[in-house]
Structures are given as C-alpha cells and as structure tokens.
C-alpha cells in the first residue's frame, strides 16, 4: 500500500473521534469541520516526511484546535471580538497532554457527533446524508452519487440539514445513563437506515450504492467498540454483516433480483458471515433480546444453511413471532408468513396474511408474496391478479421483472392443458 493510501485510511478512521472532540471545543459544526480539514492538510504535508504519529486522532485534534484558535485570534484583531462562550477551554495548558492520555471523552464525543445527525425533525434521507458527510467524511459528490441525485441537490440538502441541526442545541455536557441509552438507540436506527439505503438498491445501482452498506458496517463496528457490552449493538452489527455477506449473490447479470432460495450460496462472503455469527452468538449470551438481535438471529439461520432445504424454518417462524411482539408491524407478519408457508404450507400462510390486505394495500411485497402462495395452491387466476397488482406497485424495474417471471411461469403452466384460464 502506498503512503498516501495509508494516510487516507488513517484520516478516515480518526475522523469521528477528531471531529467529535473539535465539536466539543468549538461547539460549532462548521468550525469543527474546518479545523479538521486544516489538520488533514497539515497531516498530508507532515506525515510523509516525519512518519505517522503514534496516535493520529490526538495529533489531528491538537493541530486542528491550534490552527482554529490562531484563525480566531487573527480575526479578533480585525473584527469585533467573538463571544468568549463560543470557545471553551482554550487556555488550558494541560489540555494537550490530557487529550492524549484520557480517552474517556471520546466515546461521548463520537456518540454526540452521530446523535446530532439523528435530529428528529430531519427526514431519514437528510439524517443519512448528514452522517455520511460529517461523520464518515464522504464528499458531497460521493454522497450524491450513492443517492443517485445531482451534486447541487445534495449540497443543498446537506446545507439545509446542517442549519436545522445548528438550531437544535444538543447539549455538550457528558450525557447521563438514560440519555446515553436514548442517543445510542437513535444512532443505531440511523446506521440501520444508512445500510438500508444501500441494501434496497436495485440490481443496476447495487454496485454504486454498496459503499453505503460498507460505511454503515464501519459505523456499527465503531459504535460497538465504544459500547462493548450492548447486545443490541452486537445484534445490529451482526445483522448488517450477515445481510451484506449475500450481496454478491443477490442479483443476476441483468440486475434482476435472485431470491434467497435461488442464490448461489458459494458467492456468500464467508468472513463476513463468520463475524456476524460470532457477534450474534456473543449477544445471545446476555439474554436481553431486542429487535436487532432477533433479525440477526433470523439472518444467521439463513447463513448457516448450506443449502436452502437445510434452512431451519421452524426456528425462523418462532423468531418472527418474537419480533411481532417486540415490533408489531404488518410487514413483520408478512415475513413470518413466508416461514409459515414452509413449515405449515401455503394455506396457513395465506390465512395469516389475508387480514393485512387493507394496511398493505400499497405494498409491492404483499401482493408478490400473496401471489406466490396462491400459485403454490394452484389458484392461478387469483395468483395472476395478485401479481398484476404487484407489478403496478413495483418500486424498481428489477422488482417488476421478478414478478413478470412468475407470470410467465403461470402462462407456461397453463398452456399444456391447451386453454388459457384468463379473465
């Protein structure tokens, strides 16, 4: 690896801690970001000559802080004095040393930085964009590309989100235990959103969007290193790893969806699976279950099955049952019905989802799953109606193509009998 690649990786990994600490000093996101940028510029000059520092994050915090303070002092001479309250702890001579030795702040610094992006007034897409910009340090161009929007539109979205966040007054004191737990769960949800944004991509954009999944995994690992004993964070990380492990097998060459049963399991990433299984194993020992752990446990059962027919559907049915209690939602019930169809057959599964129709009347997957159950029961006309409905609701061309494949099969199956059972 070249020197610059090493420096890039070091700057990326130090970023959350450094920006988090600079934000604590300056209490202003723009100042903190600018200070970090300036420190990075100096690192690019200094590190290749002098070698990397022992603790890159501490180096960046110290240099960033000094540069920003110099800037503020210089502008003081030219302009009216800024409010002293806007700059905290500036004259503490011990601070440099303390920063290097005392890592206890840094957990809350990073958590605060992530938490700021989860402002409840911000729509999900803005939370994600902001986190990718501020915490991960992706460029606006990279984020725009992942979101498939223009750079100008993304720039505007991030600027607006930042303004909203600046008004939010997130407290800078060390949070209490309850507040910390609340922050942690908001941040976990945001990381899950980032992942889903990448994971829900269609086949033709999966490649472009997979960095979102990788970034979510990196943030989840970071969070887990800060909060080592939180089973739900272990569960979240495991869930993301196990889902992402299948990414190479999820689409065919034309970008069409390949369902779990039909995927080439040799394409699944074994080391991500090993890590995911190790984490869910670790989480379960705590006997404090939660939605991420349950979802990860379901993903783990799929990952453990070398062939689709080895899948433990009975256990998956039970886990979805547990998830229904923790997080009641028609979508969870719909997923459970798929497991039920494998364990107790399509009739039982169909009965289970019938009551959901009203609430899922605009949901593509509802009609796709319903059509599949009806097809298994040989009720082809009704299946066709459900599939037609699904196509009308499809969000991506890959989803539509997948349903069309079912319709084609129905068509073929009805032909040998020589008559078309259409309406």
């Amino acid at each position: 690896m070249t020197d610059t690649a090493w420096i890039d990786a070091a700057l990326t990994s130090a970023r959350p801690q450094a920006v988090g600490a600079l934000l604590r000093y300056f209490r202003n996101l723009d100042t903190a970001e600018e200070a970090f940028q300036n420190a990075c510029l100096r690192a690019l000059k200094s590190w290749p000559q002098n070698g990397p520092p022992r603790d890159p994050a501490a180096w960046l915090i110290m240099v960033g802080r000094n540069v920003a303070i110099d800037d503020i002092r210089r502008s003081r001479k030219q302009e009216a004095l800024p409010e002293d309250a806007a700059i905290s702890d500036l004259d503490d001579a011990e601070e440099r040393l303390a920063e290097r030795l005392d890592g206890s702040h840094y957990r809350d610094d990073i958590l605060r930085l992530l938490f700021i992006c989860c402002h409840p007034d911000l729509p999900a897409t803005q939370q994600i964009a902001l986190a990718l910009r501020i915490v991960s340090g992706l460029s606006v161009k990279q984020i725009a590309r992942a979101f498939l929007v223009s750079e100008a539109a993304m720039e505007q979205r991030i600027t607006r989100a930042k303004a909203r966040v600046a008004d939010a007054n997130v407290p800078f004191e060390t949070p209490g235990a309850v507040e910390r737990t609340e922050r942690l769960s908001a941040v976990a949800a945001m990381i899950y959103l980032i992942f889903n944004e990448g994971y829900s991509a269609s086949g033709d954009t999966a490649e472009i969007r997979s960095p979102l999944c990788e970034e979510a995994i990196r943030l989840a690992r970071l969070l887990l290193r800060l909060f080592q004993s939180e089973p739900e964070i272990m569960g979240l990380t495991a869930l993301l790893l196990l889902q992402h492990a299948r990414s190479a097998a999820r689409f065919d060459a034309d970008g069409a969806v390949i369902l779990l049963d039909d995927q080439d399991r040799s394409l699944w990433n074994k080391s991500l699976i090993a890590e995911g299984l190790a984490l869910i194993d670790k989480a379960m020992r705590h006997r404090r279950s939660g939605p991420y752990q349950v979802q990860a446990a379901i993903a783990a059962l799929h990952a453990r099955a070398e062939k689709p027919e080895e899948t433990d559907w009975t256990q998956i049915d039970l886990l979805y049952g547990a998830l229904e209690i923790m997080q009641p939602s028609p979508v969870v019930t719909l997923n459970r019905a798929v497991a039920v169809s494998k364990v107790r057959g399509p009739q039982a599964a169909l009965e289970m989802i019938e009551p959901l129709e009203q609430r899922l009347s605009n949901y593509f997957h509802f009609f796709g799953v319903r059509g599949a159950f009806l097809m298994q029961l040989g009720r082809n006309d009704e299946a066709r109606t459900a599939f037609d409905r699904a196509i009308a609701l499809a969000n991506t061309s890959a989803e539509a193509a997948h349903i069309r494949m079912h319709l084609d099969r129905l068509q073929r199956d009805s032909q040998p009998r020589g008559k078309k059972a259409g309406k």
């Binding site: 690896m1 690992r221 004993s229 272990m234 080391s271 090993a274 890590e275 190790a278 194993d281």
Partner: protein, 122 residues
Amino acid sequence: MLYAILCYNDEDTVGSWTKEQDAAVMTKLAVVQDKLAKQGRLGPVARLLPTTAATTLRKDDPPLVLDGPYAETKEQLLGFYLVDCKNLDEALDVARDLGAANPGGAYEIRPVGMFNPGSVEP
C-alpha cells in the same frame, strides 16, 4: 526453534481499508508465506476477527466473563490455544477448564476469521 510472530496494528485504520487495499495487502503477505511454506517452515497462520467479536474471561473465582478484548497492559501475552468449538459458550467452557488448571490472569477469546494450518514439523 519455533517462533511466534504476533501481529499488531491499529484496528480502526485496518478496518478503514477498502476491499481492494485489504486484498492487496493479503496478496503481498501471501508471497512471503508461500516462500516459507515451500521451505517447509510455515506453521499455522491465522487472521483474527475484529476485537468487537472478542470476549474476555477473567480467571477470578468465580471466573468473570466480559465483553470485548483484554484491555489491561500490566499482564503480558504468554501463549495461545487454537480450539475448535461450535460456539462461544463451548469456547468459554474450554477457557474455564484451562483457568481452573491455571488460575490468575485472563483469557481473551477471539474467533478466527482466516486460518491456514501450515505444515511445519518441529
């Protein structure tokens, strides 16, 4: 004499490598490993999963299981075992047995991500 070479690096940085960067490092290492293997000098090689997957068993009485890697620095690394286990509970049982035979200190239990058994015969 067999020598163990223990690998240390900043996990955050290594974790920030792209897939391509990681693969490039592994390819370069494989060249060195191949050379040693051809000479019959390469023993087991393992790449451990990240420390987030680690659990620590403090050999107190009774032994205490903690999440995360072994964090203290006043003890030194004195040796290691590789044991085939179905899951973490089984690995912890093994560690407890070992701990009962030799109290004091701690065991860090880390799943192995990549393993090459090697072929050296001491």
